[in-house]
């Protein structure tokens, strides 16, 4: 079965509340570390997920705290190993073509989130969900010069699977 066709190895469901971001970051960073990403890349991957969640909270749900967000995480074992992360919500839909990073020469507060996500992750795709909300799919593969673990990228413990 293709890796993107199976159920996620880990599924996290959270409310659109800024105070929950730290837990989501810690989860992603720990999984990325286990796959073999070095400390800096673990930090960057968790930053990309943090930025995606912030955008949903700020712009999608417009700071409402009762919105639902689902994060699916796949540990990819194909060579090179990596992570596939899908974030879905039931927030306001926007045309994916309008989601663009801003010009960095325009130094001003805010608007960096999309740029950071695109810079950090290897693949980024925004799309509308069939009925409501948006879906963001991101893939990050281990770079060739990454600090690789002694063992091949571990398949996550089945007990970590949750729905």
């Amino acid at each position: 079965m293709p890796e993107d066709a199976r159920e996620p190895d880990v599924r996290l469901e959270l409310y659109s509340q800024p105070r929950l971001l730290a837990g989501a970051r810690a989860l992603i960073s720990n999984i990325a570390q286990r796959i073999g990403f070095n400390e800096i890349l673990c930090g960057q991957i968790s930053l990309a997920i943090d930025e995606a969640l912030c955008n949903i909270i700020n712009h999608g749900y417009e700071r409402r705290t009762d919105g639902r967000i689902w994060v699916g995480i796949w540990a990819l074992s194909n060579d090179p190993p990596g992570l596939r992360i899908v974030i879905e919500d039931e927030a306001r839909q926007v045309d994916p073509a309008t989601i663009q990073s801003r010009d960095l020469d325009d130094v001003r507060p805010g608007g960096l989130g999309v740029y950071l996500i695109q810079e950090i992750m290897d693949q980024v795709k925004y799309e509308r969900r069939p009925h409501k909300g948006m879906r963001l799919t991101m893939v990050k593969r281990l770079p060739a010069d990454a600090d690789r673990p002694a063992a091949p990228a571990a398949k996550l413990n089945p007990e970590m699977r949750s729905r």
Partner: protein, 115 residues
């Protein structure tokens, strides 16, 4: 804003220079608290404002936006703003956003006092 959303910031003044030392992760939840405390320090219009990030293990774009806003306020009020003691993970976001060329960033608060 509840206690978990507050960031601890200690403030020290040395010969007209204000040094702020935030402690903890700075994200969407805590950036407003940091903004409030930086703004309070800027109201005294110090000649130099040093923000020591040595105890900040993580910062997202909300924290970066707070510092960019502080820099813009500093420029208008004639305050020189210097960031120091950045941890590697935090430095990484400044480099990706190319803000390491915009801010004055030095290794330690002693270096920042000497600049």
């Amino acid at each position: 804003m509840n206690d978990a959303d507050q960031i601890e910031v200690t403030m020290e003044t040395v010969d007209g220079t204000t040094i702020l030392r935030p402690k903890g992760e700075i994200d969407l939840s805590r950036a407003p608290s940091l903004r409030t405390q930086i703004n309070a320090a800027q109201k005294t219009k110090p000649a130099k404002l040093i923000i020591d990030l040595g105890h900040v293990p993580y910062m997202d774009s909300s924290g970066v936006a707070t510092l960019v806003e502080a820099m813009q306020i500093a420029r208008r009020s004639g305050t020189r703003i210097i960031l120091c003691a950045m941890q590697e993970r935090v430095q990484s976001i400044f480099e990706i956003a190319r803000l390491d060329m915009v801010f004055t960033i030095v290794g330690s608060s002693d270096d920042a006092l000497a600049v």
